[in-house]
């Protein structure tokens, strides 16, 4: 997923779910939006919150908490929608907050530690330790894959 192999660092957007920090490469991020009205789309997976009007484009929204099997929270001021593009798919991720853009050295990325029985494990491509922060890198392909 990390396409910039020859570079020694990648720029990522850092966002928060519960008490953990996650990262998505900036190259896949189209923008970060504040929470807006979401139209529910009936008969879809539970984590598909619905669709929004993103400047004239109807964009599906995925609740990442729901996707990772985390307990839901009330919407707060800090909740953001991160618009992500992967190939011809454009979706928005609802996250608790999006706080940072940082460069992480490629060699700091390690394979995910073995954790058993956590749903989100399947979506993790690696972890990176920056100072005292632990960033979890997401596997976008798997997060977006509807058939499992």
């Amino acid at each position: 997923m990390v396409t910039v192999a020859e570079q020694d660092s990648i720029k990522v957007i850092v966002f928060q779910l519960m008490d953990k920090e996650y990262a998505i490469p900036v190259s896949h991020v189209q923008g970060i939006e504040k929470m807006m009205y979401i139209t529910r789309v009936p008969r879809t997976e539970k984590f598909v919150k619905g669709v929004i009007n993103l400047r004239g484009v109807v964009t599906p929204i995925i609740d990442l908490r729901e996707r990772f099997g985390l307990p839901p929270v009330e919407n707060t001021e800090s909740v953001r929608i991160i618009i992500v593009q992967l190939d011809d798919i454009e979706v928005g991720f609802v996250v608790d907050s999006a706080n940072d853009v940082i460069d992480i050295p490629v060699n700091s990325i390690e394979p995910q530690p073995e954790v058993v029985g956590v749903k989100e494990e399947a979506f993790i491509s690696g972890v990176s330790k920056i100072g005292n922060r632990l960033l979890i890198l997401l596997h976008l392909d798997k997060v977006l894959n509807l058939s499992e």
Binding site: R40, P42, T44, V57
Partner: protein, 690 residues
């Protein structure tokens, strides 16, 4: 060779036109094998095509066209007789040419192994000991001559058509000239000067041709010089004086155009003589019509200058952008309308209303701009029917009515395959073989009629044949065999319902699988495609008399009228095209029939569909109202009542897709953006009523 994309596009476009002309004319030739004038026309198209292909450096294309031309030449000189077998081979070559053009269009180099067909063409040609190689040499000689001319500073190249025009004008007492005009180095408005020169010239004669072409001149795509071929009764000096009066012109050179300058090959002379009479009529009587008949010439023929300023070619991408921008406007209009209703400001409401009217007009224009005649789809069918009927040993005549009917481009793009399928179906299953037809007392030649027409906001396309019709017993038997209907329910089916069975998936009545149909793709695919375009298909059939498939399609796909309804806090849009009416019913009027709630609607029992249940709308509290709002919708002959909380109103909306992530959502065909910026989902009635 430098391959400018712009010229390449033009080349592809024109080549397609020429090939289409070739196949149309070949079909005509088959009907009138002795009409040499048709051969001439084909020859001319092929010749132009060859020239263009050679210029663009597509050797294989030029080569095959050349071989085809030789055969045509032999036909023209009555060295070979026209028959179906010969035409088969010519058709085959046209197919090859088409494939090459398609390849070039998709970015290929147009290379293709054509040795087999070339051999065949050569064989036909060689069947006659006439010096068929002579024209070839002349052709090469002519090409060389052209090159020499270019190097000698003369740019005008005359084709057969121009030569004929020149010849005739001379006979009528006109003089032909080649005029070279050089503009001053500091000339600012070159196009304007060109225009003035043309105006002066057109006052005293007629411009036959120009180099560069008129389009390029208008776009100032030339240096300081341009050349025109010009006919007039005035003398060279007079013309020179007149043209020199236009300011910013450095030099005008008027040279009488001699026959030697024009004549390039004896072959073209033959054509000229044969065509003289008919060309004369065309030139003098119907210049407008001529433009249609000779699309190739329109780029180069300056005499149609006036016609050019009336139409322009606009790329589809630009029209799509225009459409997208317009859609944005429609959304904003909706927003303004809802604001105006909220604030109740007189002047604002008035302005918004005015704007809405103007936008209505604008919408009509934008939509009609995207319309193209269905001819673009229809014109490939004559050839297809011909080859099918030969393959199946049937005699079939294809009648096309209403090819000029216009449809939105998106619909045109999609409708081709379903139509191919239906026509194949008619030809294969519909029309009987000649001896069967004879036995039934029908003419040996079957007729398939393809008809298109507008009616209201819809376009209708009908495929009618006078063939065997649908064998109801056979259809029923098959349907029961395949488990589409049960034996019991089969008894109660009406004739119409039996006919509709052939659209069910997993149904194919062809007794033996032929090459033509029965490839495992049934009519159900046709039906699905048409429904996805927002249309419908129905069938009428009478055994031994024939069948008629009718397709109904919306004029456009991007902007539709809907009724907005509300369920709890959610807003849904129902396409107006499937709504019969709305009504408010008392709860006590709802009846129960086999676990299905129904109402009595004007004497008909109509099942109710509770949208809040179907769409699993979360209710904050149980909804219970004495009165229920119901939208009566229709799918074919079936009716259903959609129960909603309340009606909001009718609105024009822009259809938006839900994107690539959310696909195949039950009973939702798309989305739209409402005046308040929120997204509303559009209900797919067809899926809902399955």
């Amino acid at each position: 060779m430098e391959m400018n994309q712009q010229y390449l596009d033009m080349f592809i476009e024109e080549s397609k036109e020429h090939l289409q002309a070739c196949s149309d004319l070949l079909l005509e030739l088959e009907k009138n094998p002795n009409d040499i004038s048709i051969v001439n026309e084909i020859f001319r198209s092929a010749h132009t095509l060859k020239g263009m292909a050679a210029t663009m450096g597509f050797e294989d294309l030029a080569d095959l066209t050349h071989k085809m031309e030789n055969v045509l030449d032999a036909i023209r000189n009555e060295k070979i007789k026209v028959d179906s077998n010969l035409l088969d081979i010519v058709f085959e070559s046209v197919d090859h040419l088409e494939a090459m053009i398609t390849d070039i269009d998709s970015g290929g180099n147009g290379k293709r192994d054509v040795s087999e067909i070339v051999e065949k063409l050569k064989a036909i040609e060689a069947g006659k000991p006439i010096p068929s190689s002579t024209p070839v040499q002349q052709e090469i000689a002519a090409d060389v001559a052209v090159e020499e001319e270019i190097s000698a500073g003369r740019y005008l190249i005359y084709d057969e058509y121009d030569i004929t025009v020149l010849q005739q004008s001379k006979e009528q007492g006109f003089n032909a000239y080649e005029i070279t005009v050089s503009l001053r180095q500091d000339c600012l408005l070159k196009a304007a000067r060109v225009y003035m020169v043309f105006q002066v010239l057109e006052k005293c004669g007629e411009v036959i041709k120009s180099f560069p072409t008129v389009e390029n001149l208008e776009e100032e795509q030339f240096d300081q010089n341009f050349q025109v071929a010009f006919i007039s009764k005035d003398s060279a000096e007079e013309i020179q004086k007149k043209v020199s009066k236009v300011s910013e012109i450095e030099n005008v050179d008027v040279v009488p155009l001699t026959d030697e300058m024009v004549r390039k090959s004896s072959r073209e002379e033959i054509v000229k003589k044969e065509r003289q009479q008919q060309e004369l009529e065309k030139v003098t009587q119907a210049p407008a019509q001529e433009k249609k008949e000779e699309p190739a010439k329109k780029e180069t023929n300056a005499s149609k200058h006036s016609a050019h300023s009336k139409t322009i070619r606009v790329s589809i991408e630009r029209l799509d952008i225009l459409m997208n921008l317009f859609e944005e406007l429609v959304i904003d209009r909706g927003r303004l309308q809802s604001i105006a209703t909220d604030v109740k400001h007189g002047e604002l409401t008035e302005t918004v209303e005015r704007m809405s009217r103007t936008m209505g007009d604008l919408q009509n224009i934008v939509l009609t701009m995207r319309m193209i005649p269905i001819e673009t789809v229809f014109n490939r069918f004559p050839k297809m029917v011909r080859s099918l009927s030969r393959e199946l040993n049937k005699k079939i005549n294809l009648d096309i009515i209403g090819a000029e009917t216009e449809l939105d481009r998106t619909v045109i793009d999609e409708i081709g395959d379903p139509l191919v399928h239906l026509i194949r179906n008619s030809v294969d299953h519909g029309i009987e073989s000649p001896d069967v037809r004879k036995a039934k007392g029908k003419p040996e030649e079957g007729t398939v009629t393809l008809r298109a027409y507008h009616s209201g906001n819809y376009v209708f396309i009908e495929i009618e044949d006078d063939g065997a019709g649908i064998n109801k017993e056979k259809v029923l038997k098959k349907a029961i065999e395949r488990g589409i209907v049960t034996k019991e329910s089969a008894l109660s089916l009406t004739d119409k319902q039996i006919n509709e069975l052939i659209f069910e998936s997993g149904f194919s009545t062809a007794e033996k699988i032929t090459d033509v149909s029965g490839r495992g793709v049934g009519l159900d695919v046709v039906k699905t495609t048409i429904q996805s375009l927002g249309g419908s298909i129905s069938i009428e059939s009478q055994q031994d008399v024939g069948s008629k498939f009718s397709i109904q399609l919306p004029l456009t796909l991007s902007i539709i009228s809907v009724m907005l309804v509300e369920i709890e806090k959610e807003i849904y849009a129902i396409p107006l095209s499937s709504i019969i009416e709305t009504s408010i019913i008392k709860k006590s009027e709802i009846l129960n029939a086999h676990n299905q709630k129904v109402i009595d609607f004007r004497g008909k029992v109509v099942p109710l569909i509770f949208l809040d249940e179907v769409f699993e709308v979360p209710r904050s509290e149980a909804y219970d109202d004495e009165y229920q709002s119901v939208v009566i919708v229709r799918k074919g002959d079936k009716l259903a009542g959609l129960v909603v909380d309340s009606f909001i109103g009718q609105q024009e909306i822009v259809l938006k897709s839900l994107g690539n992530y959310l696909k195949n959502i039950f009973a939702i065909s798309g989305a739209t953006i409402l005046g308040n910026g929120q997204v509303a989902l559009i209900i797919d009635i067809n899926a809902l009523m399955k």
